[in-house]
Amino acid sequence: MQPRLPAPSAIPSKLTVNFVLPYASEISGKEVDMVIIPASTGQMGVLPGHVSTITELKPGVLSVHEGNEVKKYFVSSGFAFIHANSIADIVAIEAAPLDQIDSSLVQKGLADFTQKLSSASTDSEKAEAQIGVDVHSALNAALTG
């Protein structure tokens, strides 16, 4: 593991991003302008010099802005740590580029889970269905919005 540098006195112009998944390091040590993180409290834009933060993620779109290029991922859940030295670590369990998601399957999944939620009897079934509905509606919103 590379050692992390202490926070510099001046704010650097770029933000260093590490975005890891269990099966891959999607982005490692890349310098970008800004990332927008789907935090559980709402979308959070992170620029260099952001105050150090720990936040949980909710299902949503993570966008990485680099110059004029914007790369969008849909992340399921996880954590994000923003350090004082302008390094953002994002740990997600599952993520996919937004253009690889099939919208018809999303609609179908959403309908399935809505139906399951209404027919769920136990608490755990209800919670499972609720998670499914949340994820699929977030996916739907990401695709249409």
Binding site: M1, R4, N18, V20, L21, P22, Y23, A24, S25, S28, A39, S40, T41, M44, V51, S52, T53, I54, T55, E56, G78, F79, F81, H83, A84, I87, D89, I90, V91, I93
Partner: protein, 324 residues
């Protein structure tokens, strides 16, 4: 040589009165059938050596095949292990690695393999776990084991049967993924009380070298304590914690997530080390079998040639005796 042949013939003559002892030889030969040499045999039997050669050759075939299997499995799992290495780094950057943290309830999670024939990786993991157990034990302290894999269970059950809480085997049967490991981690977290989880595994370095490693995961309470008392995690205080009802809730989620991530990487690394160790162990044993086969072949050929030479000498000297 003629002298030897003469002695041999003499020996045959001496042997004939001993034929009455045949029943005794029969008893012995029924116990060790290969060693039965008919009395007065002219040449040494090569049957034993031939059988031995055959079995060594078969063993060599098996070990070679096992090596091939391990090599192909290794290639598959090595990329996955290397890809999973990014997963624990953010947590270490945030919380640091605190192997020396002093807590009451330690849980040692020992990761080992289910199958043997893979060199010393399992005994290393067990040795390290025992050492950690000794280091962390003390008055009013408690150390428990959670064991993944058959081989560490067999070794640890001998001396610390009482402190084993959970034991899980047959992890490697299906290719591991994060979902399985997180279910496993959930199971462990629900069933043990801990202040610090210490995961012991073999980190894969190369096919021939593995580093026994310990990763420490602290419970949310200990994280909070270390943060507040300017302990080992003093930096964490400067972080703003967003979301959730309380700070404790987020910290709990964080440490559980950290455990599942670290465990995932540890299981991957250990599976990779296992295949690497098996590959090199099988490689050396097929080489040993080859060496043994060479030695046996040499002995076999030498004996065969000696008996041929003896027979030739007998014929020639017999012919010479007739001529004179």
């Amino acid at each position: 040589m003629a002298m030897a042949a003469a002695l041999r013939r003499e020996g045959r003559r001496f042997a004939s009165p001993l034929i009455s002892s045949q029943p005794i030889t029969n008893v012995r030969s029924s116990l060790i059938p290969e060693e039965h040499v008919p009395l007065g045999a002219r040449s040494i039997s090569t049957q034993i050596v031939r059988n031995r050669m055959k079995s060594v050759k078969n063993i060599q075939k098996i070990t070679k095949a096992m090596k091939m299997v391990a090599a192909s499995k290794l290639r598959l799992i090595q990329t996955r292990a290397e890809n999973s290495r990014g997963l624990w780094q953010p947590f270490t950057a945030l919380l640091g690695d605190t192997p020396s943290v002093d807590v009451k309830k330690n849980v040692i999670v020992t990761i080992s393999s289910d199958k043997g024939l893979c060199g010393g990786i399992n005994s290393t993991a067990v040795k390290v776990s025992r050492a950690i157990n000794r280091l962390t034990s003390g008055p009013d302290k408690e150390t428990k084991y959670v064991i993944l894999g058959e081989k560490a269970k067999v070794q640890l059950i001998r001396d610390s049967k009482k402190s084993i809480t959970i034991c899980m085997t047959e992890l490697q049967r299906n290719p591991l993924n994060y979902t399985q490991v997180s279910v496993l981690a959930d199971d462990i977290l629900k069933n043990v009380e801990y202040d610090a989880l210490r995961i012991v595994f073999n980190k894969f370095q190369s096919v021939v070298s593995f580093i026994p490693t310990m990763a420490t995961v602290l419970s949310p309470e200990v994280v909070e304590r270390e943060t507040e008392s300017e302990g080992k995690l003093g930096d964490l205080d400067s972080y703003e914690i967003e979301g959730g009802e309380t700070k404790g809730e987020i910290l709990q989620n964080l440490s559980e997530f950290q455990f599942s991530c670290v465990l995932f990487n540890a299981v991957m690394e250990n599976a990779c080390s296992e295949q690497g160790a098996r590959m090199s162990a099988m490689d050396s044993s097929s080489r040993n079998a080859g060496d043994m086969l060479d030695r046996l072949t040499l002995t076999y050929n030498r004996t065969r040639q000696a008996s041929i030479t003896t027979e030739l000498t007998e014929i020639i000297s017999g012919a010479a005796a007739l001529e004179s």
